[in-house]
Amino acid sequence: MAVTESETQAAAASPEPKPAKMRGRGVCVYYGDKQALFDVDIDVVEKQVTSLIGPSGCGKSTFLRCLNRMNDVIDTCSVTGSITLDTGDIYDKSVDVVQLRARVGMVFQKPNPFPKSIFENVAYGPRIHGLAKDKTDLDRIVESSLRRASIWEEVKDRLDQPGTGLSGGQQQRLCIARAIAVEPEVILMDEPCSALDPIATAKIEELIHELRENFTIAIVTHSMQQAARVSQKTAFFHLGNLIEYGETEELFTNPKHEKTQGYITGRFG
């Protein structure tokens, strides 16, 4: 029986393992003298949702921010180890951070639309990256981005009104539309639903599910149920260490590590 089981596992693991879009190896992060992440190895798998969970201060957001070098803006922050996007090291000196962030977009905890019209919020990125040939092309990009973010029907008659006038859930979907307007390959989401009510949250989760068709997504969430609902892979962090990383279903039904089990079942002391 043991033979059959290991065979089954090998068979389940081997057929066309999805390629890693981003790969972190031996990632350590320091804020000044204080080490915030210890030797983290993670693959963010292409066209899947990877969720990062763990108690406050465990390093999950720190790791997420490494993936598009958002930590660069913090002077005392230094990153060692390697993080690759496809095959290129994103911390290489030759990398243009602005270009990197166009390929690895980000959605934040609190919806942060620009104090501009709904149209301008979405048009800004494609315009500065020169993605639109002309006005018609720009209109097309804005509309398709808003549609893909499932907010087009709600805003199509008031594109010239300020984005800040939308509800929280709509603003967050507007921010997602803004992120996807520049055709990124990876979207990072840092607790995108923590300021939203359950209905708005469900809409974002449905959207994440749809976006997975075309984008690779990494999401930090405090809601374990949300991680369980939206992701295929889950990584559990604790005190700056990656404790466990694997299939979401496996991690929530039969975690390998006692710390993971303690945390997800609500036993953490």
């Binding site: 029986m1 089981e5 369980a228 039969n254 390998k256 590590h257 089990q261 079942t265 609500g266 953490f268």
Partner: protein, 251 residues
Amino acid sequence: MTSADQSDHIVKAYDDEFSRLRKMFSQMSGLAESQLDGALRAVARRDEELAAAVRNKDQEIDDLETEIDALVVRMLALRQPVANDLRFIVAMLRMSADIERMGDYAKNIAKRVHALAQLPVSSSNPVTRSVSTLGRLVQAMLKDVFDACTDEDLKKAVAVWEADQEVDALYTSIFRELLTYMMEDPRFITAGTHLLFIAKNLERIGDHATNIAETLHYRVDGKRLGDSRPKDDDTSVMVVGGPEDGPPGAA
């Protein structure tokens, strides 16, 4: 990741729900053991009073199943359990359904005591003797599987799982034996048929005990026992005697 126990949650009320589940489960399993014991004693002594008591008590097992069911649904809805907690709760739901069926079979055995009254009470009667041997075997399985649940003892659970083969083999031989007696002496057909059903009920109780062993394995280890359990029951295709015996009921 094995499950140690369901205590130490930050939310203490959650712990309390787990202890209630455990308590109801041990009540239920205790009842099932005593019901089977009562039914087998009633059969052995043709004790109709005891048989009636067993039939009435089955309701208590049914009630406990309903209660466990309600608590499980409540916990799933309100606590959204995961990992070992989830496996424990789901296992309770499955195991209590198995025990409820065991209770039904014990009750059914007790019901047949009246019909067996024509058989002489004697422990040396070869016909009833093998059925009581089967009864003792199944009783031992019940005790072991419930002990395994209490101690989360997977070795014991696997032993129960494997012991079912013995039950199946004995059931098969009883089946053959009873058919032979019935052919030899048609006056024995009534009692023989009831004994056959009793043996079948015991065999089914053994199957539910193995279900519980499998569920326990999943609860503790997160993995299923394989489907390779050896089976030794081929009564469904068994024919005793040849065509020269004539069609059944020809005599």
